[in-house]
């Protein structure tokens, strides 16, 4: 199994990189290839099972978008071919059309999905997310400067049960096309969601693995899912 980690020097925030460390821990034989800012992404030449990119600073996102833009058509073709991606946190924003911020930041996105992101830099929104993915419960967290707008009809990655999806009115979270999975959820998504981690590992050809410390991971996951389902618990961070 070969995992490509895109721009870890630009997109390193909020514990997202733990997803790649976790996959490696689950499957020690996996090869992790780091692609840096001035490098050509390895997946463009084939042989990569999963492309991962996580949350970054706004400057980091801007640079990452600039680095990927020359390969925009190749990335679109890769998605059409079924290349598997897992994109988390605000890294998803650059796969849309554009990012606008009220402090003047403008990022031209890759335009692979028909949405845009509007940041209000002094109105950070933190919420939790409870939803579903192919019959599995998914838990997670969002911390964003702005939600995703547009494309209400396009397929989401997760369906919403409680919390916030792509935006305050959307019933889905993230985007999915073929094997591209993009979510605004931040942090160690795979650690927090053992069933989703097992699904991904199966898709990557690792078979039906027992996760490291699976009992503890499941206990934490079930506890969190029960809390998030409790209507008395507010899903916004104040």
């Amino acid at each position: 199994m070969k995992i490509e980690l895109l721009y870890p020097e630009l997109c390193y925030l909020y514990g997202d990189l733990a997803n790649v460390r976790y996959l490696k821990k689950c499957c020690p034989s996996a090869e992790v290839v780091e692609t840096h800012y001035k490098d050509r992404p390895a997946f463009l030449d084939g042989g990569v099972d999963l492309v991962y990119m996580g949350s970054g600073t706004e400057d980091g996102l801007s640079r990452a978008a600039g680095a990927l833009r020359p390969y925009r058509d190749d990335i679109a073709a890769a998605i059409d071919r079924g290349q598997r991606f897992l994109i988390t946190g605000n890294a998803l924003d650059i796969f849309g059309e554009a990012v606008h911020s009220d402090d003047g930041l403008e990022i031209e996105g890759l335009g692979l999905f028909p949405f845009h992101s509007d940041y209000q830099i002094l109105k950070r929104v933190s919420t939790f997310f409870l939803g579903d993915f192919e019959g599995m419960t998914v838990v997670g967290f969002q911390c964003v400067f702005g939600y995703l707008d547009g494309a209400p009809e396009t397929e989401g990655l997760f369906t919403l049960r409680r919390g916030v999806g792509r935006n305050l009115t959307s019933k889905v979270e993230g985007f999915r096309r073929n094997n591209f999975m993009g979510t605004h959820l931040i942090g160690p998504l795979l650690v927090l969601n053992p069933p989703f981690a097992k699904y991904l590992l199966r898709e990557l050809g690792a078979g039906d693995l027992t996760l490291p410390f699976e009992d503890t991971a499941m206990a934490a996951y079930e506890k969190r899912a029960a809390e998030m389902a409790d209507e008395k618990i507010d899903y916004n961070f104040h």
Partner: protein, 466 residues
């Protein structure tokens, strides 16, 4: 109209002080709340002391503010501070309400203001406060929800700061050093230390590449995370030189030399922890800017101590017990605490109570930061046991296991008092309580640890007698 509204706000805010006392209400920020609610630009109109020093940064700002205030007060200066209130606009305004006369003049009662400012509050505070000096301790990863990331905070402070404010910056922190590049500045830092490396051994590294060109940063030395001295071979960017440089730091002997303009000045360390040495050097830099001589600073610094609520140690029965602040939601602060604890000599049993209690009852706390924090440091053999507790205790347990702490050393019980019973109190082990900022919780747990330490000591004594 503005001035009239200001005076009305000031008088009512002043009136609230005796009213609070008469009605037996606490509320150190309340006068500031009254002032700002009635006059949102209260800080623009209120009179200024001769000198205003603001202190901000992710970690250490309370220690630096308190130490600065203590030394100035010890010298007989009349100091206005917000140490009894919050470090946001209400607490700062309350300090002005209490220290100004009925016409809003602070100059007659106060020589210098030392104001701790929450970095997220910069936009509300600095444009009107117009500090003469801003001491920045550092900018590191803090609460994901509130502070996003250090570069975001750098942008906030830069936008907020008047052009005239002179910056006192940590040269070893390449992020905060980049605040308001047009403003006048001096810098402080600590020269290469024995434990320094070149590569980053921490999970958090917020300056992995050159901020100008994205080239690889080459570290001359790296203290931890993004702290150190680095150069970019691609574009020539480099960390600034320190105006005030601590050298020959000897934590065992508790001594250092402070070099300024090529001259060395000996100092006694107020603490053996690196982050408190940074705080001390920041205070020296600020006092030098206020015109103090090194001899005078040294004289007062020798009698100074860092705030004890953040760190306490004592012997109870046969056990050495340490309580140490490990700010929850803050991967940098917890990592530094883990490093400090791991490096201390002897075998240790750890009790982790760093859940954010304010989140527990109304939000399912965001635990993503756990995976940016160096729990791997707790996998050392000298740490014989780690007990985690609280609503998020099981998340801590999972994080510890994934960090490589052996399963037979990790214990979890949600109820904190029951969890304390899981500590082994093995003779010879030191007991560490790592806690968040809720002091009432710490006191309650320390009381129970004291009881347990005495009980185990008594049992040990009986065993020896038999």
């Amino acid at each position: 109209m503005g001035k009239l509204r200001f005076l009305l706000a000031l008088w009512l805010a002043k009136l609230s002080v005796p009213v609070l006392k008469l009605t037996h209400h606490n509320g150190s920020n309340f006068p500031g709340i009254v002032a700002i609610r009635l006059c949102p630009d209260f800080l623009r109109y209120v009179g200024r002391p001769k000198t205003v020093v603001a202190v901000t940064g992710t970690n250490g700002k309370t220690t630096v503010s308190n130490l600065l205030s203590d030394l100035l007060e010890a010298d007989g200066q009349r100091v206005m501070s917000n140490r009894s209130g919050s470090n946001m606009i209400f607490g700062i305004s309350a300090a002005y309400v209490l220290n100004s006369d009925l016409l809003g003049r602070a100059g007659g009662k106060v020589d210098v203001a030392i104001l701790e400012v929450d970095e997220r509050s910069s936009l509300k505070v600095h444009p009107d406060l117009k500090p003469d000096y801003l001491v920045v301790t550092n900018l590191c990863r803090d609460s994901t929800m509130r502070h996003a990331h250090p570069d975001f905070m750098k942008g906030i402070i830069t936008r907020a700061l008047p052009k005239e404010t002179k910056l006192i910056l940590n040269a070893d922190d390449m992020i905060s050093c980049d605040i308001a590049p047009e403003n006048p500045r001096v810098t402080y830092g600590i020269d290469r230390m024995p434990g320094d490396t070149v590569e980053c051994v921490n999970l958090l590294n917020d300056r992995p590449v050159c901020p100008r060109c994205c080239g690889k940063l080459e570290y001359v030395y790296r203290r931890y995370h993004h702290f150190g001295k680095a150069v970019c071979r691609d574009c020539g960017f480099s960390s600034p030189e320190s105006t005030y440089l601590a050298r020959q730091v000897d934590t065992a002997q508790r001594t250092m030399v402070l070099t300024e303009d090529g001259e060395d000045h000996p100092y006694r360390l107020v603490s053996d922890s690196v982050f408190n040495i940074y705080n001390m050097v920041a205070v020296i830099a600020a006092l030098r800017q206020l015109g103090w001589s090194h001899e005078k600073i040294r004289g007062y610094m020798d009698k100074a101590a860092v705030l004890s609520t953040r760190y306490q140690e004592c012997d109870i029965g046969n056990y050495h017990v340490v309580s140490h602040l490990a700010k929850g939601l803050n991967a940098f602060a917890t990592s530094r605490t883990f490093q400090y604890v791991a490096d201390r000599p002897g075998r240790k049993e750890l009790f982790l109570m760093i859940n954010d209690l304010s989140c527990e009852h109304n939000w399912s706390e965001n635990v993503c930061w756990l995976y940016d924090s160096d729990f791997e440091l707790l996998a050392r053999d000298e740490i014989t046991q780690v007990v985690c507790t609280g609503l998020r205790g099981i998340d801590y347990k999972l994080r510890l296991l994934l960090a490589g702490v052996p399963e037979d050393r990790v214990f979890y019980e949600e109820n904190d008092l029951k969890a304390l019973e899981l500590l082994h109190f093995t003779p010879g082990d030191d007991i560490y309580l790592l806690h968040d900022v809720e002091d009432y919780q710490t006191e309650r747990l320390m009381n129970r640890i004291t009881e347990l330490a005495n009980e185990h000591s008594a049992k040990e004594g009986e065993r020896h007698e038999n």
